[in-house]
């Protein structure tokens, strides 16, 4: 309601559409030989019928050849890929590509082309290690829709800022804003200055003219460093909820020493790095030696950033050092950065298969953004208010403590054994056979452990329990799966991070 959403649009070309913006600038043959066209056939997961995928769809984007015969592009150009084709401007022969690394949170991916002949008569472009100056000129290369041949547009860097990366919507990173005309199909294409890559074009701001977003070199470097060990871990998060100390009464109350600045910690997010190290009430004074100001910002190279920027530049396995006041004493606290463990998937998911368990026609799924999006349109208003509360207040109201995974009875595939309950949908499962449900796995084992006559499912709120005949359910289960064409009764993602 009071949130102003900046609506960004990704630049994959879906079918035919926009007019070409292709006016060749001062590019050379050499640069052009580094730009590739990418065609992706993708298949999205279906959160309404999680045992099957949705229909195929095709998308098109651009990419750039970088050192080591690798192609860098945007993650959204190649996500959920079932089949990938890479084409050079000149050859006209498509090559089979394979995604080697993909980072959905930073919207970057690397592609390998298995046939080494692809790289004949191509070149790789180097990276510029500088963030370009505001107002400086850049060139955008790519294959936007509207024509078959390469397009080059020219623009200036109009802003350098943080924004949400809309592909996963998971977090905010630095972007370069440019005023060059960029269009669907430009996604993944390089943005060059002095023939060096300064970024990758990836999204535009809806309803505003000539505002294109470019992934800057800092984010690209983070991605490339991350995958050096062969695994993409993503950005670690501190998971701290700081409260700013702008009010003098608050500073006085927390006992901030004269001449010092900082923020107070209100809460910590379970599953993130700081949870066991930083405490609520801690007064953070500095992060890695950078004094934290009362508004929660720090200065790096004379530029103001949120204090999380320090973490933004680090990898899983690194650490962050805080000076803080706890119980009146100033201490140093080291926070090792760990890969986030998040059980409420509050971002757009790709590649992942939806988790579910189907038993006796009753479909159980964890609450997630992807599930809420099955309401379509303005799902954030239209979805059931119970689910929206559990989703939006999962951390804010500490709902995560009682239900690390919020397991829903999403719907019922009608069968004689469940006929009296066929109208139930979108309820939060509280207990199964008396066992508190904290995860999909705990639900499955609560069903499996039952030896009595009935399965009893209780829901959150004033609702009657669901009582099912255990023997009949077991007997009819297979038949229900067959009748509805469900090949697997469950999918649980491997839990590598859970120890």
């Amino acid at each position: 309601m009071k949130i102003n959403r900046l609506v960004t649009v990704l630049l994959v070309a879906l079918g035919a559409g926009m007019p070409a913006a292709g006016k060749a600038g001062n590019d050379t043959e050499r640069i052009r030989s580094a730009i590739v066209k990418i065609r992706n056939v993708s298949q999205r997961a279906n959160y309404e019928a999680p045992w099957e995928d949705r229909d195929f769809s095709g998308g098109r984007g651009s990419g750039v050849i970088i050192s080591g015969n690798r192609i860098l592009t945007s993650a959204h150009v190649v996500s959920d890929s079932k089949y990938l084709e890479i084409e050079k401007e000149k050859s006209g022969t498509p090559y089979r590509g394979v995604v080697s690394f993909i980072g959905h949170d930073c919207d970057l991916a690397l592609i390998d082309v298995l046939d080494p002949t692809f790289f004949e008569e191509t070149t790789s472009l180097p990276f510029s290690q500088e963030i370009p100056e505001l107002g400086s000129l850049v060139l955008v290369y790519g294959f936007p829709s509207g024509g078959r041949r390469i397009s080059v547009t020219r623009g200036i860097i109009s802003r350098i800022d943080y924004t949400r990366y809309s592909h996963s919507g998971r977090d905010y990173h630095l972007i370069l804003q440019i005023d060059a005309a960029i269009n669907p199909g430009n996604s993944g294409g390089p943005v060059l200055q002095d023939e060096k890559i300064v970024g990758i074009a990836f999204q535009v701001v809806k309803k505003s003219e000539n505002v294109g977003h470019v992934i800057p070199i800092t984010v690209i470097n983070h991605f490339l460093d991350d995958i050096e060990d062969g695994i993409y871990d993503g950005y670690p998060d501190l998971g701290i909820i700081p409260t700013r100390l702008l009010n003098p009464a608050y500073r006085d109350y927390v006992g901030l020493p004269k001449g010092k600045t900082g923020v107070v910690i209100s809460d910590l997010i379970p599953g993130h790095s700081a949870i066991d190290v930083i405490h609520p009430g801690d007064l953070l004074l500095s992060i890695d030696g950078n004094p934290i100001r009362n508004d929660g910002t720090i200065l790096i190279d004379d530029k103001s950033y949120q204090l999380e920027e320090v973490v933004e530049r680090k990898q899983v396995g690194d650490e962050v050092v805080f000076r803080l006041i706890r119980d009146g004493e100033e201490i140093t606290c080291r926070v090792p950065l760990k890969k986030n463990v998040e059980l409420m998937k509050s971002w757009k998911e790709y590649e992942e298969k939806p988790e579910y368990y189907l038993f006796g026609g009753l479909l159980f799924q964890p609450l997630s953004l992807e599930y809420l999006k099955t309401w379509r349109g303005d799902w954030w208003n239209r979805a059931d208010s119970r689910l929206l509360y559990y989703f939006n207040y999962y951390n804010r109201d500490k709902l995560c403590l009682a239900r690390p995974e919020v397991i829903l009875l999403t719907r019922i595939l009608a069968a004689p054994v469940n006929q009296y309950y066929s109208g139930l949908s979108d309820l939060v499962v509280d207990t199964v056979n008396g066992e508190k449900i904290v995860s999909l796995a705990s639900l499955i084992s609560a069903f499996a452990a039952q030896t009595g006559d009935f399965h009893i499912i209780e829901f959150e709120g004033d609702l009657p329990p669901c009582v099912l005949n255990a023997r009949r359910l077991k007997k009819e289960n297979l038949r229900i799966l067959e009748r509805y064409g469900v090949s697997q009764d469950r999918y649980l993602a491997p839990r590598e991070d859970k120890n």
Binding site: L246, N247, S266, Y393, F454, G461
Partner: protein, 505 residues
């Protein structure tokens, strides 16, 4: 599991007034349907011109723009004028007019019950009632019975719009989330005359007052005379005692497995008691997990219906509200732990003050507290409605969740949801000004269950500070105790707020 008393969302747009005049058509229809003359209801209805003003719940020290509405009323014995509560709610002035005299009389509300949407208005000037005969009430109306909706034209001529009763059932009422006996009628109000609450007659007797009209479906709901009579009987010398409320949530039981699970003997039918409201009528009598078999001698079927001798199957909630008064004791029969048992149940009124989130605020003072610029109040349905027409989806998601799923469930430690609405910017609240729509958990370390708790807690600052703690992320907000009253004075002046707090003890 169909019989679940979950509070439904209800938009405000149910009443549609169409002013286009198709008099000829309706007169023709009237001739076809007319069965009895309109003679006995000569001076019915009277007109009520109501000027009203609602509170601005998002700025609770303010009132919204004054507005007016027209409704109809019927004269009853003892100088009473019967109308619906929604016609006179939030009234600042009521003018009453009869069709025999071109003159306005000053009316005032004598009794109002928002739950059953009924009110008694009286006129202190006796001469108003001189030439008006009280209407007779008729409780028995059959399905398919033709009825007349009476309206007064501009010329003060009475016009009878013909309709037909098509449904008798227990439905949610206009303001209250509770359900009472309701008639449904097929009627075409194309020429409605601009007023609401049309009295409905059959055979020269009043059978009810119009509660709502859906122009698309050409369907009106009517508050039946049985409810009106009950309302009138509840006006006692000691004051109005209201309607009793059953105080439980029941669910239909059809599933044979569920019956087997309850060890229910064959042939025993009833509804499953899912929840019992603390301090309500059923508290101490029924328990969660009981199967309610009969109420006051009426057997309940598995879907929650009983057999009314006149109308047939009706929702069993009707037994409480139509046949009984608060204070009555009735017998209920239930199945618990494998055996049938009976118990007495003393009926109580369930007022909106027993709700975690009161369903309507009209008729009561909207309490609030402004301290250091923080506007603190109790969450009500009317507050949610300030989100606009689509409040049922657009309002704060936490509030909506509690409203939709837990609005009746006050607990010992949480009688109401006390919220920080927003903050009026001032130097004292520097740095907090973007905080809004948060639930107040504690003030100065004391848990908050009602707005009064905030007032009390503010009397005992923690050393030299006041500390507000919110549920969301446990965030805190600190105000200095010494300069607070000075700031409040400044904020009151700056924002033109007369009263910085309105609290009824």
């Amino acid at each position: 599991m169909s019989y679940i008393n979950i509070l439904g969302l209800r938009g405000e747009g149910q009443r549609v007034v169409i002013t286009s005049i198709l008099l000829l058509l309706s007169l023709v229809c009237g001739a076809v349907h007319a069965q009895s003359t309109s003679e006995p209801v000569k001076n019915v209805p009277v007109k009520l011109y109501v000027t009203y003003q609602e509170t601005d719940y998002s700025s609770p020290w303010k009132k919204k723009k004054a507005n007016s509405r027209l409704g109809y009323g019927c004269v009853l014995p003892d100088r009473k004028i019967l109308t619906t509560a929604d016609i006179v709610k939030d009234a600042t002035m009521i003018k009453v007019e009869k069709n025999t005299e071109k003159k306005y009389y000053r009316g005032r509300i004598e009794v109002i019950d928002y739950d059953v949407d009924l009110a008694i208005v009286t006129v202190d000037d006796d001469s108003f009632f001189n030439d008006l005969n009280p209407v007779e009430l008729e409780e028995r109306v059959r399905i398919d019975q033709p009825v007349k909706f009476l309206v007064l034209e501009e010329s003060e001529k009475i016009r009878a719009i013909p309709g037909e009763i098509v449904k008798v059932s227990v439905e949610k009422y206009y303001l209250s989330p509770d359900s009472f006996l309701t008639y449904g009628a097929a009627v075409n109000f194309e020429d409605r005359g601009g007023g609401w609450s049309e009295p409905v007659f059959s055979g020269g007797k009043l059978i009810g007052l119009t509660m709502s009209y859906n122009s698309k479906k050409q369907y009106a709901t009517i508050i039946p005379t049985s409810i009106i009579k009950h309302f009138l009987d509840a006006i006692r010398p000691e004051g109005y005692i209201g309607f009793p409320y059953h105080g439980f949530i029941g669910a239909a039981v059809r599933d044979p497995e569920f019956k087997r699970y309850l060890h229910l003997p064959p042939g025993v039918e009833g509804i499953y008691i899912q929840s019992v409201f603390p301090d309500g009528s059923a508290d101490g009598t029924l328990k969660e997990g009981d199967l309610l078999l009969s109420i006051d001698g009426f057997e309940i079927d598995g879907d929650g219906y009983y057999e009314d001798p006149f109308w047939g199957k009706l929702d069993c909630r009707d037994i409480f509200s139509r046949f009984h008064y608060p204070g009555d004791t009735i017998e209920v029969e239930f199945f618990r732990n494998g055996a049938v048992d009976r118990k007495k149940m003393r009926l109580k009124r369930f007022s909106r003050s027993d709700y975690l989130i009161p369903p309507y605020s009209c008729g009561s003072v909207t309490e609030y507290l402004i301290v250091g610029g923080l506007i603190i109040q109790e969450l009500t349905a009317d507050y949610l409605k300030e989100w606009g027409e689509k409040w049922g989806t657009k309002a704060n998601k936490k509030y909506l969740y509690f409203y939709n799923y837990h609005s009746r469930s006050p607990e010992p430690g949480r009688e109401r949801i006390v919220i920080l609405n927003k903050i009026l910017p001032d130097q004292i609240n520097l740095g907090y000004q973007r905080m809004d729509e948060l639930v107040v958990a504690e003030v100065n370390g004391r848990p908050v269950s009602r707005l009064e708790d905030v007032v009390e807690a503010l009397e005992q600052p923690e050393n030299v500070h006041h500390r507000f703690k919110f549920e969301e992320f446990g965030r805190e907000l600190i105000l200095p105790a010494d300069t607070l009253s000075e700031a409040d004075r400044r904020i009151g002046e700056q924002y033109g707020i007369g009263e910085m707090r309105r609290i009824i003890k």
